[in-house]
């Protein structure tokens, strides 16, 4: 069985774009959304900062929820990436860093003084992200969103391993194959033989007379170009004959 036929099986079994997959996706998203709102809501109910001031205000709550969302999404991307290369990690960790940089920039004093009504969230990042309460809530939210996915995938791999899983498992046990040894490109052995040798076998009379072995750099005539670009395969009989006469010994027809 040719390996490449396995590529057809997801399509035949309708594995990736079926109603079942859609409903599964919907359930996971609903669960994640509910967790992302309800956990900060319950944690911020009637709570205050470590120095007694407000932390349950609209801006801090929004800050907490959006940062939790960023963390959860990044964690899910980490889970879904099969090969962690340097470039991958640069972009994944870089996006978290970029989010923090942009957030602190948007909530900074400078932008507030320049565009006052557009950046009213000044101070929210500084004042909410230095609370251990907030970080503990974020950690809890992230774990609650990620652990069910991990548990489900692990169970799936245990009970119904796909072929990919089996191959990976095997490859992991056997270790990485050694890289192919470097072979210098083979030197061309000259295949030219003298025409004296030809004369002892049947000969290449046909080849010579057909002039095929000569790499003729002949510019095709305009007429030939036009004729051959006409629908050669389904052209009418007269066209075919005319073109054949003109082309003569050149090439086999490809139909």
């Amino acid at each position: 069985v040719d390996c490449s036929t396995l590529l057809y099986s997801p399509g035949q079994l309708n594995m990736f774009f079926s109603k079942r997959t859609f409903v599964q996706c919907l359930i996971v998203s609903t669960y994640t959304s509910l967790v992302l709102f309800l956990i900060p809501w319950a944690a911020m109910q009637d709570s205050v900062r470590g120095d007694g001031k407000d932390v349950a205000d609209y801006q801090s709550f929004a800050m907490l929820t959006q940062t939790s969302l960023m963390v959860v999404v990044s964690a899910q991307m980490f889970l879904d990436t099969h090969y962690w290369t340097a470039i991958n990690q640069f972009f994944l960790l870089g996006s978290i860093a970029a989010y923090l940089a942009i957030t602190f920039t948007f909530y900074s004093n400078g932008l507030f003084f320049m565009f006052t009504s557009s950046f009213p969230f000044i101070g929210s990042a500084r004042n909410s992200l230095n609370q251990p309460n907030v970080w503990l809530t974020m950690f809890l939210t992230c774990l609650l969103c990620i652990l069910p996915t991990v548990a489900y995938r692990f169970l799936h791999m245990l009970l119904h391993p796909t072929i990919t899983d089996k191959v990976r498992h095997k490859a992991r046990e056997e270790g990485q194959p050694a890289p192919a040894p470097y072979r210098p490109p083979p030197r061309r052995v000259s295949t030219r033989r003298s025409s004296y040798a030809f004369s002892h076998s049947q000969g290449y009379g046909d080849l010579v007379t057909s002039r095929k072995f000569l790499r003729l750099k002949r510019r095709p005539s305009l007429l030939l170009l036009i004729l051959s670009n006409l629908n050669w395969c389904s052209g009418n009989f007269i066209l075919k004959v005319a073109t054949a006469l003109l082309k003569g010994s050149l090439g086999k027809s490809s139909c």
Partner: protein, 371 residues
């Protein structure tokens, strides 16, 4: 028609007629990508695979880590002392019932009521006094937008011409309102005082600190009084009028010039809109006196209320909360309980997965990987 073949070096050579590419076929450049690690996808990579050796210990470690954290949070929360008293005056037996019933906007004489309460435990260290409102949606979108941050930052132009977002609380009788908007208009204006009833009969008024209740960034960066430093605020705010529901203009909020005008801390705390319909805002701080005496000893107290704020029309409730504070904030057992439950569920899940792995986990080693 045109025959092409690839010789050993990978060069594509085209011979014959009909070749659209150029003057009768020289050799084209190779289309094969370069043999670098980046382009051939051979970068050194780590492959995270969910094996039993990684997932199961992870579940157990998370379970074992979360349970002590949860216990710590729960114990910390339980050690915080909190006292709450509702003084809306809805029931007939409540001391503030008459004030609640007789509320009128144009009343000259403010209504006062005294609510007695008893503290069972002494409160040490700084005690924070909050006012709480219920069923008050400070997170309503149109309400949240109804403010002018430029005006509150001391911008002279915005003082005379408030932004359109403040409508319909931007002008009153042809004069611009300072501060404009619905948030400022609905500012909480009850006055609360605490009196300790000594066992030998004397009434001691407890000193309340009104500064240091707002965020530093709010007080020093976001909110500024218009005009230069140390100018008379009455002069600066001339030509503007107070919000419709206020009894005093903004430059008479406090006699302390550092707490007057837009930088009044009660005003700043109110302008930081709450996220949820039941919220509490810091009102005053009771500073601790000494390490020997508790800040609020056990005993009988009286809460003196100057009842200015009407909440009956939207079935809201008002309450006063006294609370001590820890590193994790006020009394909120949710995080502690959540961590303990998530930790135990994780641990149980780890055990279940371990059992399943032990019984059924050999399917990965199946030799038949069909080729």
């Amino acid at each position: 028609m045109a025959s092409s073949y690839k010789d050993e070096d990978g060069h594509i050579t085209v011979s014959g007629s009909g070749a659209a590419a150029g003057a009768g076929g020289g050799s084209l450049r190779s289309k094969k990508p370069e043999n670098t690690a980046f382009k051939q996808q051979r970068l050194p990579a780590w492959q995270p695979i969910l094996t039993a050796g990684t997932v199961l210990p992870a579940f157990f470690i998370i379970g074992l880590m979360f349970i002590p954290i949860g216990i710590g949070l729960y114990v910390t929360s339980n050690n915080i002392k909190e006292f709450e008293i509702d003084y809306t005056g809805v029931e007939m037996s409540s001391p503030c019932f008459t004030c609640a019933q007789n509320f009128s906007w144009n009343g000259t004489k403010p209504c006062t009521c005294s609510v007695p309460f008893h503290l069972d435990q002494p409160y040490e260290s700084n005690v924070f006094m909050y006012y709480g409102l219920s069923n008050f949606y400070q997170n309503h979108r149109r309400y949240v937008k109804s403010r002018d941050d430029s005006q509150l930052n001391g911008n002279e132009e915005s003082l005379r011409k408030p932004s359109k977002e403040c409508e319909p609380y931007a002008k009153h009788g042809n004069k611009p309102i300072a501060p404009c908007g619905a948030i400022a208009n609905s500012m909480f204006n009850d006055s609360l005082e605490l009196i300790y009833n000594d066992p030998n009969g004397t009434k001691v008024q407890i000193p309340l600190t009104a500064t240091g209740i707002a965020w530093w960034t709010d007080k020093h960066v976001k909110f500024r009084n218009p005009g230069a430093e140390n100018t008379n605020l009455t002069v600066v705010f001339q030509g503007t009028t107070q919000p419709v529901n206020w009894r005093r203009p903004v430059f008479q909020l406090d006699s302390d010039p550092d707490n007057n005008g837009f930088i009044n801390e009660d005003f700043i705390v109110w302008m930081r809109t709450a996220a949820l319909p039941t919220f509490r805002k810091l009102y005053r701080i009771i500073q601790r006196r000494s390490n020997v005496h508790p800040t609020l000893p056990r005993g009988n107290y009286t809460l003196e209320v100057v009842y200015n704020y009407p909440v009956r029309s939207f079935e809201g409730r008002k309450r006063m909360i006294l609370s001590t504070i820890s590193w994790m904030g006020g009394k909120n057992p949710f995080l502690g309980i959540a961590y303990i439950s998530v930790g135990s569920v994780c641990f149980l899940l780890g055990v279940v997965l371990l059992i399943i792995h032990h019984k059924y986990g050999n399917r990965n080693n199946a030799a038949e990987i069909s080729h």
